[in-house]
Every structure is written in C-alpha cells, then in structure tokens.
C-alpha cells in the first residue's frame, strides 16, 4: 500500500475539463488552451495520494492514469 504513485495525462484524451487542476492543483498544470499535463515527472508527493485518485475518478474523459511504482 505504500508504493509511490505517479500520475499521467494522456494528451490525446484530455479535453481540458480542468477537473484535475481544481481537485489536485499540486499534481497537474494547464497549458494556454486549458489542457492538462502532469506536474513535473508526475510523481505524487507523500500525502497527496488521495488527490491523485480523486482527480482520476472525476475526469470525464478517462484521460488520467495513476500508476503504482
């Protein structure tokens, strides 16, 4: 359960609903068109795991992957 998480946004699926940015601003950034990409290398800092899952559960385009390393 204590594995490190990484988030990844699939740019072909993301349509810029910005739900991820609202729920987990630390984990996602938006570009000038409002489309999302993971912040930095996508590694989820300890304590923010729930936010990663929450962002995934609320993305209407199923564009977010949460990977356990």
């Amino acid at each position: 359960m204590s594995a490190t998480l990484k988030v990844h946004v699939d740019p072909d699926k993301c349509q810029g609903h910005a739900r991820c940015k609202a729920l987990a601003p630390e984990l996602f950034d938006l570009d000038e068109y409002g489309n999302a990409h993971e912040h930095g290398d996508g590694r989820v800092p300890a304590g923010l795991e729930d936010k990663a899952w929450l962002a995934k559960a609320n993305c209407p385009e199923i564009a977010i992957d949460v990977i356990e390393e």
Binding site: H17, A22, G34, A57, N58, E61
Partner: protein, 414 residues
C-alpha cells in the same frame, strides 16, 4: 408506431404539430409539456427500456439516455456531425461558417476552437472574478429589501449577461437585446424558422458595428482579441468568422449559465437540508457546484447522423438527428450511484454537463466561476429562502433547460 394519428391524410410529410406524447419509447418529444416540467422520470423509464429510442417527429430523431451511449456518440465524429446541433421541426439549410467551432467537425474544428480557448482558462477567470462578485451584489441590492423576488428574472439571468458584456467590452445595458435574440434562436425557432433568421440578422448587424469601431480604435476586450487572433493559415480571421464566434459566445454563454444558477437556487430553495449545509460548510461549494451541474445539467445538444452505425446495439440511420442528452447521461445509475439524489459532497463525479470529447464547453471555467460566485454571494446575503407557494416556477424548453420564472421568498440576513 402511433404516427398516423398526426399525419394529415393528403400530406406526404408530418406537419410541425406536437400532439401530447402517450408513447415515450416510440414517439418522444422534448417539447412536450411533461418533458419540460419534469424530464427525469421519462429518461429513467427510457434508459431502463432501451438506451437509444427513436421518434418520427422532427423528421426523425434518436435519443440516447445512458452515459455510455451518449459518450460513444459524442466521441464519434465520423458518423455524427455537428453541422446541425438543434433539433427542430424544419432542417434549415447548412451555412458555412455558421458558428465555428460548435457547428464544425474535424479537421476544421480544432483550429477554430484553439483560438477561442486562451481567454477562458481558469487563470483568466480568476482575474474576472471580482467584477462578477460586484455584479452579483449590485443585483441583490435591487431586491434585498423586498423579502421576495423572481430570482430568474432579477438575478440568475443578469449574472451571465453582464459578465459576457464586460468581457466583450460592450455596454452591460445591451444585455436585454441579447436575451431577446437568444430566446428567438433557442426556443421560438424550434417551431418557426423565421425567428432564427431575424435574430441572426439583427445580431450580425449589432456586432458588425462594434467590429468597425474597433478597427478604428482597438481596445483590450474580447472582441479585439478575436479580431487579432490568427487562423490556421496565419492570417487574421475574416469578419464573418469573428461575427460567427461572437454570436456563438453569446448564444452558448448566457441561457446556459442562467439556467445552471437558476436550477441551483431552485434546488436550494426547496431543499432546506442542503441549503443549511452549504451555508454552514461553505468549503463544500466546489463539489456542490459539480453535483448541481450533474443533476440539473441544462444543455442538450444534437448531432446529425451521417453514416449508418450501431449505438449500444441499436442501429442508427443517416437522415435522422440525435438529441444528445448530456442531462440524461448524468442521471445514469450505472455511473452515478443514487443518481436521482443530490449529494453535495459526491466524491466520484465525472459528469458530462459540459459535453464529452472535442466539443467540450469552451466556457466551462467561466460558467463554474459564475455559478460559484453567484451562489456564494446569494447565500451570504440571503441564507434563508424558499419557493413562494403563491407563485409558479416555469422551465424553458429546447436545447437549454432552466427556470425562467423562479418566485422566491426570503428572510433578510441581519
């Protein structure tokens, strides 16, 4: 099918009449009074029977009611075109550059959309927020001492109108003109195509004058931004493209947000437990806004079937329209447990109120900000309110559903 009953004997086409619906599975009609008043049980019944139903009205139209079916259609731009996006009795001729990007398909869609996106990012909306907060308070000032108001006519309608005027750089008082044009385009034109033409002509003339003015004196408003934007060939947009985009932003941005704020206040007025919870736990606002958007999604778009295919196992044939019901998808219990219940802190809520796929609403960040601010300011000053039992709530028909008359009584905050 029960269609012969309303086809005149010596007419070879169904006349634009709308007899009351008795068989929703084979003869649905989204302009039927029962649908306008309370569509939710109809959708639940249809979803349980067959996820895609058909009517011969409107010259032939399908209605998907499951999340999966709506999503599949929204993502399939090969079989389903956006060249017609409103289901009407008549099929007006297709116009080029009608209102890009909402009427565009790939490959034209992407470039038309990209030039509209930058002014609507969440960061851009943050800068606009203080003006919207002020607009809300100016509106509330006008009726707060009355202890009652028609919240649709005096509050929810004006918030998006004044906000978009402010963004476009046109006088906020011109908002009433827009409200009238939009009513003609979205509602009256379903049964009278002439209304559509008249409203579009008047809007075009209005904005043409504003474009001319900015050719002489550029400003830092959204009209000027659009005039400076470059199309995919690197050239500035021609005037018809700018005009089309302006018309679209108004048509898409006003009724929709008006409806979303109105439906939210309607829900809170009739649901004291949710109202009290939102007042005492203001930190719930973000999830509450998403939940109200899910449960009372105002916008139902349409597509035209271009090639035969199957959706959720049902054959779908060209020549028909599709009523793309994002609101029905958002009530699908397969995706949203307790779909009929409003859960202000719903955790998993991938709702489709702003569409799915490439046509995702350009104004979604603006609409969310307006809803949040309009509800916050209202609840701050009017925490205790309820529906006026002597008044009647009425709902709009057609593409956008929301309260158009919302009589409310309230206790003033001390």
């Amino acid at each position: 099918m029960s269609d012969s009953a309303h086809a005149l004997p010596d007419s070879d086409r169904v006349l634009p009449e709308h007899p009351p619906v008795t068989d929703w599975v084979h003869d649905f009609d989204h302009t039927d009074p029962r649908w306008i008043e309370d569509p939710f049980p109809i959708w639940d019944e249809l979803r349980a029977t067959c996820p895609v139903v058909h009517t011969k009205r409107f010259q032939g139209c399908y209605l998907p009611t499951s999340y999966q079916a709506v999503k599949q259609i929204a993502h399939d731009t090969e079989h389903f075109s956006s060249r017609r996006i409103i289901v009407r009795d008549e099929r007006p001729e297709i116009q080029k550059n009608a209102a890009p990007p909402i009427t565009s398909d790939p490959p034209e869609h992407k470039s038309a959309k990209q030039l509209l996106l930058p002014p609507f990012t969440p960061d851009a909306m943050k800068k606009l927020e203080p003006r919207v907060r002020a607009i809300c308070n100016e509106l509330i000032d006008e009726f707060i001492s009355d202890g009652q108001c028609d919240a649709a006519a005096r509050y929810t309608k004006h918030v998006p109108v004044r906000t978009i005027c402010h963004m476009l750089g046109i006088p906020e008082k011109d908002g009433d003109l827009f409200i009238n044009w939009i009513h003609m385009i979205l509602e009256l034109s379903i049964k009278d195509e002439g209304m559509l033409k008249q409203a579009v002509q008047e809007m075009t003339a209005y904005f043409a004058a504003h474009i001319e003015e900015r050719k002489q004196r550029p400003s830092d408003d959204l009209i000027t931004t659009l005039m400076r934007a470059k199309g995919k060939d690197g050239q500035p947009l021609d005037d018809t493209h700018v005009l089309g985009s302006l018309r679209l932003l108004l048509i898409a941005g006003i009724d929709t947000t008006w409806s979303a704020i109105g439906a939210s206040l309607w829900h809170l007025a009739k649901t004291p437990a949710d109202r009290e919870r939102l007042v005492s736990e203001p930190e719930l606002m973000p999830t509450a806004v998403e939940e109200l958007l899910r449960a009372y999604s105002p916008v139902t778009m349409a597509r035209e079937v271009m090639k035969e295919t199957t959706i959720a196992g049902c054959p779908v044939k060209p020549g028909n329209m599709v009523l793309l019901s994002f609101p029905a998808a958002n009530r699908d219990p397969a995706v949203f447990p307790d779909a009929g219940k409003i859960v202000l802190d719903r955790k998993s809520n991938p709702h489709a109120a702003f569409g799915l796929g490439i046509h995702r609403c350009i104004g979604s960040n603006l609409a969310r900000m307006e809803m949040t601010v309009a509800l916050q300011e209202w609840l701050k000053r009017i925490p205790n309110f309820w529906l006026d039992p002597a008044g009647k709530v009425t709902w709009s028909e057609g593409t956008v559903r929301g309260p158009r008359q919302l009589p409310i009584l309230f206790e003033k905050a001390t």
